[in-house]
């Protein structure tokens, strides 16, 4: 049992708009941290710029709100230099995937042991309503009054393209689901990407209308659990099966389908092909996948960096500056 409660991680009064998904997420983060039990002073929360990047101000931990897009790079330097601290990196879809896209993919590729939260509301809120790199094609916003003419990123695709080893998804309003994936992200050693689906009540309300309520989620999402069959629906009456190179939705009992025909989720499978299929599912034909979609063990960057230092220390004969000097060709000028 953890000796901490959510209150121990709480600070200040959040100033997001009433109803903003950030409120829900913050509360789930406090809960998850308390359940994880890493002391507040051994925790660092690092964010970039944007509405969601204000989050560190409401954390009673070590924290840094940095500059736009660079949170992943800053968190990387922090974790490598001080691996004893649990590092959480908070970004929105603009911060993480537009201005900070390069740092996002490289932090994932290096597999730095940081918990990377991507609060995806598919809009720029702080600058008052421009489309983001996750806004769907044709999205009308202040900077796209006639609709966007570009395709969005799917965060999971980027994560897997960068050889990511952990990807999970939750809806901000689903506290239990969010706490669950945050705990799994912490437990995973390496870069853990958590996509949080949330509405911006001012500029993009209803972005996730179909999954925002409990009832909606029951109909339109599937909670993936490692080792469990991929069943969903209000009465778990639907399931997923493989068909050719893709997936198909089936109803139990129809056409002779039984539970043993349904795919069993393997989050630990090194091959990410099926993980990607799951992560890309969307309505109306498919449920949106929630939970831990991929969770595969791999060497972490910060550990490898520090391990290499220890190995070289054991191998090389010089360990301080004076000894370093004497590895060079030295000559003496006599008095």
């Amino acid at each position: 049992m953890s000796e901490y409660t959510a209150k121990d991680y709480k600070k200040g009064q959040p100033r997001w708009c009433p109803g903003c998904g950030d409120h829900f997420f913050l509360s789930s983060l406090h809960k998850a941290m308390a359940e994880i039990g890493v002391p507040p002073h051994k925790t660092a929360v690092i964010s970039g710029i944007g509405c969601s990047s204000r989050l560190p101000y409401y954390m009673n931990t070590y924290a840094m709100q940095t500059i736009h897009g660079r949170a992943a790079a800053i968190a990387t330097g922090f974790k490598v230099a001080n691996p004893d601290i649990a590092v959480w990196q908070i970004s929105g879809d603009g911060d993480g995937l537009a201005i900070g896209g390069n740092h996002f993919i490289h932090a994932v590729r290096r597999n730095v042991d940081i918990n990377m939260v991507l609060l995806n509301n598919r809009i720029y809120g702080l600058t008052k309503g421009q489309y983001s790199p996750t806004s769907p094609r044709g999205f009308v916003s202040k900077s796209s009054p006639y609709g966007t003419v570009e395709d969005p990123f799917h965060p999971a695709e980027l994560c897997f393209g960068a050889r990511g080893h952990f990807f999970a998804r939750a809806v901000a309003t689903d506290a239990a689901g969010t706490v669950e994936i945050l705990k799994a992200a912490y437990a995973h050693k390496g870069a853990s990407v958590c996509e949080i689906l949330q509405n911006c009540v001012i500029f993009n309300d209803g972005a996730y209308e179909s999954v925002y309520t409990k009832e909606g989620r029951a109909k339109h999402t599937i909670y993936l659990e490692h080792g469990k069959p991929m069943l969903f629906g209000e009465h778990k009456e639907y399931g997923l099966m493989q068909e050719g190179f893709g997936l198909k939705v089936v109803k139990l009992g129809e056409n002779g389908v039984t539970e043993k025909d349904i795919l069993v989720h393997d989050a630990h499978c090194a091959d990410n092909t099926l993980h990607l299929k799951l992560a890309l599912m969307d309505g109306p034909d498919f449920p949106v996948a929630l939970g831990v979609i991929r969770d595969v063990e791999a060497p972490t960057y910060d550990e490898a960096v520090n391990q290499q230092i220890e190995e070289i220390k054991a191998k090389k004969p010089y360990h301080n500056f004076k000894e370093l000097l004497y590895t060079n060709d030295i000559w003496e000028v006599k008095a």
């Binding site: 660092a44 500059i67 004893d84 230092i309 060709d329």
Partner: protein
């Protein structure tokens, strides 16, 4: 073997090795420099290599050169022109002859002066010596053939054999200057420790070059020696500027008891710092080659927050990209050293050439009121001290510091007296004390210095948030209060302004100079040499050379106003002069400005300063 020639003693000599960029001229030059330094000469080197990735073999654009100035006493520059020019092919002779003195001895590989070589080098006749009007002593030797003969039994293929041509030239030059080959042999054994056959082949060719000179007298009348005269007793090594910078960082980290973290992205001419630091993991040095320049700096800011001595290394274009993260270190008041090895700009500019054109960028190139200390290294060996004191300043005053070097000092080398860290001042960061626990806020300051206290994450009772948004100075919470912002801007400026720096030293005719030369950073050697020459010619000249640029030394105004005439000489269009005019009321200097990407030429400086002197 022929009788030994008479040996003439020289005070100083300049040797320039040149050839195709694949000919190994940098290595030959480096070995000759180290051999000279090892016997106690002072040395100053200048590698001059092309920016092309790999020009066609034998092309004029592919010539790579290495110049070394060897002195019995102190030498301050690599020398304007050379006394010995090695030209390994026709293109080298064509492009490098302009760097030879009229009295210089020229060494050629005749095998690379064949019709096709002459054509590639755009000679129009079959006699390049006559075509260039060369009246000097020329040692024309069939070097390629002799190297092939020498290694005929080695079992090496033709390509590997030809790679040893540079060693023949090295042997010949060692003979000309009566150098001890054993030192060169040891260097080769070390360099090729994992390939003993290659080491043996190189050694054999060096010896062959030496013997060729000794046996044939190589059509010269004398050989030469440069004795050691004025060196301070002690232990020395040859060091390049970038390596000295890396050593300075390592030394500072050890002295401060901190982990050294370098976040970097490769960029000419700064990359060797990343290379050097990456080697020394046994000292706990952590290097992260980041995805870009921005991440290099940003990850360093993260490492600084985590408690490391954080450094990021780059050149001018990289500073452009790092500026935003540098400013994050300004407002969060975290220690960070930003190394800018200046090169020719703007934009990609002249990547392998040297300038001092980033000064105003370092001082002012960021948004907002962004005070940042700036220190400039004055020579290859001085890079060590400059790096050490930049780290000390960053850690003790909780501020990012810009360390300016340039391609000239970064790639040049000098004889480096091994530093004794016990003689260097301690580095004491302003850590929080236990009594602050529970009521610590990040912008609590020492009232004398205005330096804030540093709480490294992991400690109970010191949790806090830093960030790019302005904070209330007392509580550490976000604040847009006008009075608070005004105060915070002033406090950050005051903190930097209060950093103590040593007075600028005046050298030369301190008391009665008619003309004061003023410079900063990597031009020190050339300006000092120009002053020496003018004083030797009976003029009254002094030099004030600046290393601390922000804050400026306390005696700056006094020094600048003391002399009847002042000339500010710099490798840009007047950035330091403009800065000094801004800082010192009524200061109206003469200016000498060059932006050629090449080091100053002492004779040109003397001519320009003499004209000012005589006005």
């Amino acid at each position: 073997m022929a009788e030994p020639l008479e040996v003439k003693e020289l005070d100083q000599v300049v040797v320039r090795f040149s050839g195709d960029s694949g000919d190994g001229m940098q290595l030959a030059g480096n070995i000759f420099s180290t051999v000279s330094a090892t016997v106690g000469n002072d040395i100053c080197t200048f590698p001059d290599y092309p920016a092309d990735i790999r020009a066609p073999q034998g092309a004029l654009t592919g010539v790579s050169a290495f110049q070394v100035h060897v002195g019995a006493g102190r030498v301050y520059t690599p020398g304007d022109k050379c006394d010995v020019l090695v030209a390994m092919n026709a293109a080298a002779l064509k492009t490098q002859y302009k760097y030879a003195k009229p009295t210089a001895c020229i060494i050629l590989d005749t095998d690379c002066f064949q019709p096709k070589d002459l054509e590639k080098a755009a000679f129009t006749t079959d006699n390049p010596i006559e075509e260039l009007g060369i009246k000097n002593d020329v040692i024309a030797a069939p070097i390629t053939q002799m190297v092939k003969d020498c290694l005929a039994d080695s079992g090496m293929d033709n390509k590997a054999v030809l790679k040893c041509r540079n060693m023949f030239a090295l042997g010949l030059v060692c003979w000309l200057f009566n150098r001890d080959l054993e030192i060169a042999f040891n260097m080769l054994r070390e360099k090729f420790a994992k390939k003993p056959a290659v080491a043996d082949a190189n050694i054999k060719v060096v010896q062959a070059g030496y013997d060729y000179g000794a046996n044939t007298h190589a059509s010269v009348a004398h050989t030469y020696s440069v004795e050691s005269k004025t060196k301070k007793p002690g232990k020395y090594m040859d060091i390049m500027g970038n390596k000295a910078t890396a050593y300075g960082f390592i030394a500072a980290a050890e002295k401060a008891g901190k982990r050294l973290y370098l976040g970097s992205y490769p960029i000419t001419p700064a990359t060797d710092v990343l290379h050097e630091l990456s080697k020394h993991k046994s000292l706990g040095v952590t290097t992260v080659q980041c995805e870009d320049e921005i991440a290099g700096c940003a990850s360093s800011v993260g490492a600084a927050f985590a408690g490391a001595l954080a450094v990021t290394s780059t050149s001018g274009p990289g500073v452009c990209l790092k500026s935003e993260a540098m400013n994050l270190a300004v407002i969060t008041e975290l220690p960070l050293v930003v190394l800018d090895v200046q090169r020719g700009g703007p934009s990609t500019g002249l990547p392998t050439k040297s300038e001092q054109t980033d000064l105003l960028q370092a001082l002012f190139g960021r948004n907002g009121e962004s005070p940042m200390p700036v220190i400039a290294a004055t020579s290859p060996t001085n890079c060590f001290d400059a790096a050490y004191f930049a780290c000390k300043m960053a850690l003790e005053h909780m501020t990012p510091v810009v360390l300016l070097t340039d391609a000239f000092v970064a790639n040049g080398s000098g004889a480096f007296k091994l530093p004794d860290l016990d003689e260097y001042p301690d580095i004491r960061p302003p850590y929080v004390t236990p009594d602050m626990a529970g009521h610590y806020t990040p912008y609590m300051r020492n009232p004398e210095t205005q330096v804030r206290y540093w709480a490294i994450p992991g400690q109970e009772g010191f949790m806090h948030i830093l960030g790019g948004l302005e904070k209330d100075g007392r509580t550490g919470a976000i604040s847009t209060d006008p009075e608070n912002h005004d105060l915070m801007c002033r406090l950050r400026a005051e903190k930097v302004a209060k950093i103590p720096v040593p007075d600028v030293e005046v050298q030369g005719r301190v008391d009665d100079a008619e003309l004061l030369i003023v410079g900063f950073g990597g031009t020190y050697g050339h300006l000092h040499s120009a002053m020496d020459e003018m004083n030797a010619a009976g003029k009254k000249v002094a030099l004030a050379h600046f290393s601390y640029l922000n804050p400026l030394p306390a005696n700056t105004a006094e020094v600048l106003k003391k002399y009847p005439k002042v000339v500010v000489a710099e490798q840009n269009l007047g950035q330091f002069a403009a800065y000094l005019r801004m800082k010192v009321d009524g200061f109206m200097p003469y200016q000498f400005n060059q932006v050629k990407g090449q080091p100053f030429v002492v004779s040109e400086l003397v001519a320009a300063f003499t004209e000012i002197y005589n006005q």
